[in-house]
Symmetry: C2
């Protein structure tokens, strides 16, 4: 009986894989690559379910390696495949890779233990109040919020920071308790893990017209700032000097 | 003028580095390795400050690569070094690596966006109510808590899951609003990223006497469980079948 090894591709391109991951690929009986979920931890498609069956069948005959962007078991759909494999009596292993979840924190210079619940901002065709509510709740507790932006890799469609901010502001206008205003601080991060990431901290208003370049994009809404975090944002994310006044 | 490239070593051993990271090492003028912070994002030592100066000096003469366990800019002390380097007019870049922050989530099968603030549990010589407060606050919001366990790498001392749970229970006994009881569910994770990780979900009482083997260890306190999360814990972390009753 065989096994499935979930191997994380890390960030950006084929060089994000670890040496351990590469070793698994080289000794595999079959190798599959999954490119739909990209950066979205809660993404799920029927397409992937179909692919999952193919991987399961291959694993019954030997060692199947399943290559997944980022850290491989963050998407719920891969967890489901792993459970399914175990039910079939297959062994499963994970070779971890760099994830946007920690990469974005590292690039921002903010303290990791001050991040609260994270959230995905959906495209405006499927509006949701959840992101606004999560940011507000974290802010109330003084915590930072990591926002992943919607992706439809099959349509080659990636939400930009500008789009995400406008969606959030539009939703906020309909709310009574408005916490997300044009004046508050946000941190935009583009192309984490690539040779040319962009990291810029400023008011939402300013970030709305800032050109972050190519996707993928990520957003952070800081809560209260430790002085070292303020210093990091000024030094590493070109934040305005009056940054502490912008966080409410 | 030179640069510092912070390269993540990922998890477990030398095979956790990415191909991109290895390329940076091969083209470096000088290479440094940092092994003190290990898994602790908020660790800081005067020792590292001294080492930081050596890296800075080397970077003035060319490309210095600084190898750091996990994802390299999670520890605040590395962020401080990065800011210092930029002040000296040096360029800095990050090559990300797998981090315990996402690896533990992936191994547990829990949903990443349901994690609240994370926390470090300190050794009992330096007791703190913070971990108990963070777990309680997250639970109130239905969120999971990732707990990193204290490390003193220089003394080769790593906190075990058993020790962490006993510390938490001891602190809880002094509190009025007791949320962490022997009956609640926790998930212990040992050796994430190694070929033989251990993942076990059960009541605190049971985990206190479970043998997780060698370090490093990590703990998760689940909040409310989606049925898929409950299924994942039963299938992947050998949780008892009555798991949903254990989460309060």
């Amino acid at each position: 009986m065989g096994e499935i090894v979930f191997v994380g591709l890390g960030l950006h391109d084929e060089k994000g894989i670890s040496l351990r991951g590469l070793e698994e690929v080289r000794t595999a009986d079959s190798v599959f690559i999954e490119l739909y979920t990209s950066l979205l931890p809660d993404f799920s498609t029927t397409r992937l379910e179909k692919d999952g069956k193919i991987v399961l069948e291959a694993a019954k005959k030997g060692k199947a390696v399943f290559l997944v962007p980022g850290d491989p078991l963050i998407a719920t759909t891969h967890v489901a495949l792993r459970i399914e494999a175990e039910k079939h009596g297959l062994k499963t292993r994970i070779i971890h890779g760099a994830s946007i979840l920690s990469a974005a924190i590292g690039l921002s210079g903010l303290h990791s233990y001050k991040f609260g619940k994270s959230v995905t901002i959906p495209f405006k065709e499927t509006p949701s109040e959840t992101p606004n509510r999560v940011v507000a709740q974290n802010k109330k507790l003084g915590l930072h919020t990591l926002c992943l932006l919607d992706v439809r890799a099959e349509e080659d469609r990636y939400m930009s920071i500008n789009e995400a901010l406008e969606t959030l502001l539009a939703t906020e206008r309909k709310k009574k308790d408005q916490r997300i205003t044009k004046k508050i601080l946000a941190v935009g991060i583009a192309r984490a893990g690539s040779p040319n990431p962009a990291v810029k901290a400023d008011s939402i208003e300013k970030l709305c017209i800032y050109d972050f370049g190519k996707p993928p994009h990520t957003l952070i809404f800081p809560g209260t700032l430790h002085f070292m975090e303020a210093e990091a944002l000024i030094s590493l994310a070109k934040a305005p000097k009056n940054i502490e006044k912008m966080v409410k």
